[in-house]
Amino acid sequence: MNEELDSQLSAMFDDELAPAECELLARRLSRDEHLKARWGRYAIMGAVIRAERGVRLNAPLAGRVNAVLLAEPALAAHTAPRDRSAARLRWWQPLAGAALAASVAAVSILWLRGQAPPAGVPLGAHLTPAPLSVAPAAATQGESYVVPVPKPPTVVVPSTELANYVVAHSMFSTPVARRNLLSAFMTSEPAAAGAEEPQGDVKRIAQ
């Protein structure tokens, strides 16, 4: 028997062997009956040194356990179906994700088209800010206060080419990438988007 191997076995028995070496030796230990017998004798030595009284040192316990387990299927057989289903799930996950992203993109495009102005109307014409309504001073009573005026909806309408581009490429891009593309397009064409800042966002009522 190789002395270095036996030395490793002794260290492994004490949990003092490096994990990589343990992996290799565990493989050999599980197959080599002589090595296993030596391993068993190491356990007997420990039991004697610890003076474990009442424990039968030659009890055929391992043999009995082994005999029972011979009738059992190996654990890998138990876990195999679960592994296969997990593998199937892993295979479907990217496809399901892509399908979901495409659906979200299609709904977004349809919604954006629904918000678009009718044909012939200049882009952004409907975005003219509502005039500030200032209450006449005569109508005021008591102390003055500030009432926030709701902002008119600032709808940004992408061009038809952009919409077509996004639809055509939705299968090949992530939702974040599509959003970035839309943002980049809007910021590069502020005039076309017609998004003007409202002249004011408060209605002052003098009292």
Binding site: E16, I49, G54
Partner: protein, 202 residues
Amino acid sequence: MSADASDLSLVRRVQRGDKGAFDALVLKYQHKLVKLVMRYVRNPAEAEDIAQEAFIKAYRALPQFRGDSAFYTWLYRIAINTAKNAVVSRDRSPVEYDLDRNNNEESYDMQGRMKDSETPEGLVLTDEIRSTVNAAIDALPEDLRTAIVLRELEGLSYEEIAAAMDCPVGTVRSRIFRAREAIDRRLREVFEGGLGRAEELG
């Protein structure tokens, strides 16, 4: 050195379908487990039956073992639960097996041995193994004996033994190995020569 790496490497092999690796785990822990169970049942033969059941339960539950705790901690928990259940079911049975609990441990041990179905040769072999190992330890040079006793009796790590003996960790590893080799030479004679049961260690 990572604690429990040895057990974990064997456990992973069992989880991949290698039953031989589980055999190594049984060989390593069988005496400790029987000793643990004997706190509940005292009778060695019954303790072995419970330990066997615990090992089989552990094997079947191994797919769920993820290594969050040490393997032996997990195994001991299974053994304790199995022993407690065995005691409860035994107490419920109409025929009382239990011995007089005022008796001392030695009489429990004697009762267990009397109920034991093991042959007289088996009992002799156990005693012979004990005396052989003890004699081999006594014959060891002091540095080897100290190293193996600190390891097995006190459960110290190699690093702690190295600190206690004021020597490098590599020397501790070598001393423990040499001590085991010296004891093993004598022990093999008992199994091979004495009663011809070299392979039946478990």
